[in-house]
Amino acid sequence: MAVDTSSAGGAAPVPVRDRRDALWLAGIWVVLSIVCCFLVALVWGPHMPPGAQSTSAASQQFDIRVLGTIATPVILGVFLYFGWAVTFWRKRPGDETDAVPIHGNVRVQSTWIVVTSVIVLFLAAFGTYELIQPAGAGGGEGPQPIWKPPGTTTSSITSWTPGTSNILQIQVIGQQWAWTYRYPQFGGFETTQLAIPVGEPVQFNVTSLDVIHSFWAYTLGVKADANPGVNNVAYTTAYHTGDFQVRCDELCGIWHGAMYDTGEVLSVPNFMAWTKATAIKMASVTKLLPPYALTYDPTTIPAGPINQALGLTSAGGGYYNPADPEQP
């Protein structure tokens, strides 16, 4: 085996054949990386989930495109090295020699640390910016969101006019096993249908009446846990009309898998007409709902005289009756 004794760092000499292999590997890796990065970013990227139906969805898709593009050379490097080793460096019949001893190489180690540090720090900065820039990226920000859509206010939660800075409020209420949606700016009606207007920022106020659910309108890029007694806020703005899917993303009981809806992004005139029609349709039950609030406590209902006479001062549920032998 020919040996090159000019290796840096005082390490063991590098065999000429290994250096030739390294050059081949590097050359193939660079060419493949350039081609594949373009393919991932420009060809596959626009079709990556969750699509681009809203600001938050488009933001998430962009993030996945960037991460996918960065990951492509890494994946190619791993598989290329693996394939090369299996193909060319495997043990030949009759070859009983030992491999070349491995020693430290300052240049290789320094390069590895610098490159990986740069990648990790870049991703940390990029991820933070991408979380802030589209108002939380569609994720639940808790009851007091830090990042809000620019140019929006919550000047009124009892009325809403398209095209103004006052943001549209929609309350998402999880319960085993269905979602209901309340529109406080349109008389406070509650319905099992979810509709939002195109091009208008929306604030989802997500809560639960029983256990923990998770509101996941995945093609809108919105996901927020629904916790009882907690208001979890998420924002988005739809880019175009059409249907979107809503699922529960937190295992919440036997019908968790059936807890899904189809929502709809409507044009602004159609949305206004829908709210008007639905408010009329639901009027008989809207007046029976508790006053609009960010959370609800079913244990404190205004019980009527017969309910009180029967000892029913809370909604159905039992709430850990200590006398019940089947208390968990």
């Binding site: 209901t180 036997i254 029976l288 909604a315 032998p325 968990p328």
Partner: protein
């Protein structure tokens, strides 16, 4: 140990583990409720089906669990099950005999009748041998009045029907004590109960649709949503739509 002995030991051990896992799984799942098949009983594009709610399930090993029962179309007896089959594209005329007492809805929005013909249900009450005239009701206020005991809801079809409850304190304190309630009452003859009727049309294609109650009525379980609320054969079930 010889090679065949090792292989045999491995195979036996593997089969033992698989059998143990299957035993645990099937023990947890338990026997499934029987299916009441109403499909052969459809006539002229319609079929009649009768359900019952009972405040207890004395016919099961969970006697303090509230439960639905379904009338067997062949025998006329109420069976402890919540699975039923109906034909596709057929009008289903449902009667629910509501023998349980009232419970306020956790979410009042489920007090509205939706997804059935006319978005109304017809309600009459039976007590002391008398049945009141049926009244069409579209919305129940379960908080102000003792008016709802359970709901019958098929969410994927948009169906929600509150099951009216016996309306007075006296009636709620004299509910039936054994189940099914028909023919098992005190010397008054028949326990107080509501009779709820409504109709809906099944989808044109076959499918399986879950149905459930939206009042968390599993007393003693986390927020009332465990026990009978989450067990097939009690307060939830399936509607098989046959092509």
């Amino acid at each position: 140990m010889s090679l065949p002995a090792r292989v045999a030991t491995l195979v036996v051990a593997f089969l033992a583990v698989v059998a143990g896992v299957l035993w645990v799984v099937f023990d947890i799942i338990g026997p499934q409720p029987t299916l009441e098949n109403y499909a052969p009983y459809a006539k002229n594009g319609a079929v009649d089906i009768t359900l019952m709610t009972a405040p207890q399930t004395t016919v099961s090993n969970k006697p303090d669990w509230v439960s639905y029962f379904i009338k067997n179309p062949a025998t006329g007896q109420f069976d402890h099950t919540t699975y039923f089959a109906v034909p596709a594209n057929t009008k289903v005329n449902v009667t629910i005999l509501g023998y349980d007492g009232c419970t306020p809805l956790r979410n009042p929005v489920w007090g509205r009748v939706t997804g059935v013909v006319g978005d109304v249900e017809n309600v009459s009450y039976f007590n002391k041998g008398q049945t009141s005239s049926p009244q069409a009701v579209s919305t129940f206020d379960s908080w102000a009045n003792c008016s709802v005991q359970h709901t019958f809801a098929i969410p994927n079809l948009g169906i929600n029907v509150p099951v009216a409850s016996p309306p007075t304190v006296e009636e709620n304190n004299n509910l039936c004590t054994t189940s099914p309630c028909v023919g098992n009452d005190d010397d008054s003859g028949t326990a107080p109960h509501s009779v709820v009727t409504f109709s809906f049309t099944t989808p044109k294609t076959a499918g399986t649709f879950r149905w459930q109650c939206f009042i968390p009525c599993g007393g003693g379980y986390l927020d009332g949503n465990g026990g009978p609320m989450g067990t097939p054969g009690y307060m939830m079930g399936q509607m098989e739509v046959e092509a």
